[in-house]
């Protein structure tokens, strides 16, 4: 397949896929906590919104830098091709940024009407959060590149990773904000354990349906970041810790923060392996 050309999407894109996943995941998990959780979960939601906003801004910067001439990003807005992941992605990240901004701003108010507004905006914004965390995988799947073109489930997997890293970011930021979450620490752990378990299922489905070309992911030069970074540090260790460790009340935040760092490393390893394996 040497006659195919690589798009040379490198570190800017790896970081974008990673941070975009966190932003989308943190937002929709935050909005779900906001709408269906208790009073303490409003702080969880606030952490989610506060993670999503700056990361979205960084994502936009990464994408425009990658174009070489940043103003050319505007060319993306000449068209709206709804079947084209790159096209709707460009519009989608802008729309998501607007939701992240409004939600983050409203999360500082306790006034009933504004809280009501924030919760309902969160419901709609979540759809864009799901989109931002997943479309990048769909985008890679709709190329002619080896592995990418045959790997289904990439959008689904990126979304699961976006959820697990998004919840991890919520945990980490909540710890750094020194908010007292009480019972919500356990909810964060539960939600993240579920996302990671589902991520493992999707990873197995992706590799299973991909067949022998998938060896390039888990047996070639990417074996180390795949097994150590993604599977080990990113999924198995934090899942095992969440089963084994029963932190005392005062230490739940610290334990969550430590596990969060591992999960984030795993999410980065996933984007690194997938982005580069399709271009090597």
């Amino acid at each position: 397949m040497t006659f195919l050309k690589a798009p040379h999407w490198e570190w800017y894109i790896v970081w974008y896929f990673f941070l975009g996943g966190i932003a989308g995941g943190a937002y929709f998990v935050g909005a779900i906590a906001d709408n269906f959780g208790g009073r303490r979960d409003e702080e969880v939601a606030k952490s989610g919104y506060l993670v999503a906003l700056p990361l979205t801004l960084i994502c936009g910067i990464l994408l425009t830098i990658d174009l070489g001439t940043p103003t050319r990003f505007l060319n993306m807005l000449r068209q709206f091709k709804f079947w084209n992941p790159m096209s709707i992605g460009s519009w989608g990240i802008g729309a998501f940024g607007a939701f992240a901004f409004v939600s983050a701003a409203l999360s500082f108010s306790r006034e009933a009407r504004l809280v009501w507004l924030r919760k309902n905006i969160g419901k709609v914004g979540s759809l864009f959060g799901f989109f931002l965390a997943s479309y990048t995988g769909v985008l890679l799947g709709s190329t002619a590149r080896p592995i990418w073109t045959d790997a289904r489930f990439m959008g689904a997997l990126f979304l699961a990773s976006g959820a697990s890293t998004g919840i991890a970011a919520i945990g980490l930021i909540s710890y750094l904000r020194r908010v007292e979450l009480g019972e919500s620490w356990r909810k964060i752990k539960k939600a993240d354990s579920f996302a990671m378990a589902f991520e493992i299922v999707l990873l197995a489905l992706l590799l299973g349906t991909l067949g022998s070309p998938g060896r390039a992911i888990w047996a070639g030069p990417f074996a180390a970041p795949f097994w150590v970074g993604l599977v080990g540090i990113g999924l198995v260790v934090p899942l095992a810790l969440s089963l084994v460790l029963k932190p005392r009340a005062g230490q739940a935040g610290l334990v969550t923060a430590m596990a969060s760092i591992l999960i984030l490393v795993g999410g980065f390893a996933l984007r690194y392996v997938i982005v580069f394996v399709g271009q090597s």
């Binding site: 050309k5 060319n75 068209q79 190329t143």
Partner: protein
């Protein structure tokens, strides 16, 4: 408007590379220096400055005698073009003559098309930060002139014309060759089985793979629907998981969330 096409009959190509030079000349493409490719071919593949490329394949025939397979390769201007579908800006568009063209003023260098071309034609130009490929001599065909490569070809290995007439010509040529005993001759891209039909199609003397052509290329964008559906399924599962995790009640700490969440 007619749909134009180019028919490259590799059985009469002599490898003179006049087409490659004419393309460079007309399109003002600078020299790139020589590249050792292990054959007489210069440039291993299309670049941002090489849009016509004569492929040289040295292969032993059935008697063990070395023989040349020569083929002048170019952008296929596919009826179902992966690059065109991928382009988010509209820079890549189909002209009134059915050809696929990159508008240099609009391209923003996102490189999605580079990854979406099943033939590795579209190339990123690091000088301009945009992508380049064969224009099907857009300026010439709009002035009733054939493409530069076809015009210059001394053996009529490259022919330019209205697509349906050229397709008929290609099929006639194939029938003649089969009659003469050239059993391995075959057409590539004339019919719509390859990406809806190519507007640059070929008569080959060996398997497509021998010429570095994919035997059955597919439109990359066919995957969008399935991948999107799987992503939506994933979103439902993850959303439900988060909902259950945060909605849980009656836990050990005795915190009641009744009534304060909605």
């Amino acid at each position: 408007m007619p749909t134009y096409a180019m028919f490259t009959d590799t059985s009469v190509c002599t490898g003179c590379r006049a087409c490659q030079v004419a393309c460079k000349q007309w399109n003002e493409l600078p020299a790139e220096g020589a590249e050792w490719t292990g054959t007489y071919q210069n440039r291993e593949h299309f670049t941002d400055k090489t849009w016509r490329l004569v492929r040289f394949v040295e292969k032993a025939d059935t008697k063990g005698e070395p023989k040349w397979l020569l083929m002048s390769d170019v952008c296929k201007h596919c009826a179902q073009a992966g690059c065109l579908e991928a382009c988010p800006t509209g820079a890549i568009h189909r002209t009134q003559y059915g050809t696929v063209m990159v508008n240099q003023d609009v391209c923003n260098g996102c490189r999605y098309c580079v990854s979406a071309c099943p033939f590795g034609v579209v190339t990123f130009n690091h000088d301009t930060g945009r992508v380049n490929k064969c224009t099907f001599c857009n300026d010439r065909i709009h002035n009733n002139m054939p493409t530069a490569c076809a015009k210059t070809c001394p053996t009529q290995s490259i022919q330019f014309g209205e697509r349906s007439a050229l397709a008929a010509k290609a099929k006639k040529r194939l029938a003649d060759l089969h009659e003469q005993g050239v059993k391995e001759a075959r057409l590539y891209g004339v019919d719509d089985d390859i990406l809806g039909g190519l507007n640059a199609f070929y008569l080959l003397l060996d398997k497509p793979e021998t010429y570095n052509l994919p035997p059955a290329p597919k439109l990359p964008e066919r995957n969008v629907a399935v991948d999107s559906a799987l992503s939506i399924g994933s979103a439902l599962v993850l959303g439900l998981g988060a909902l259950v995790a945060f909605r849980e009640r009656g836990s050990a700490s005795g915190e009641s969330q009744e009534g304060d969440g909605q």
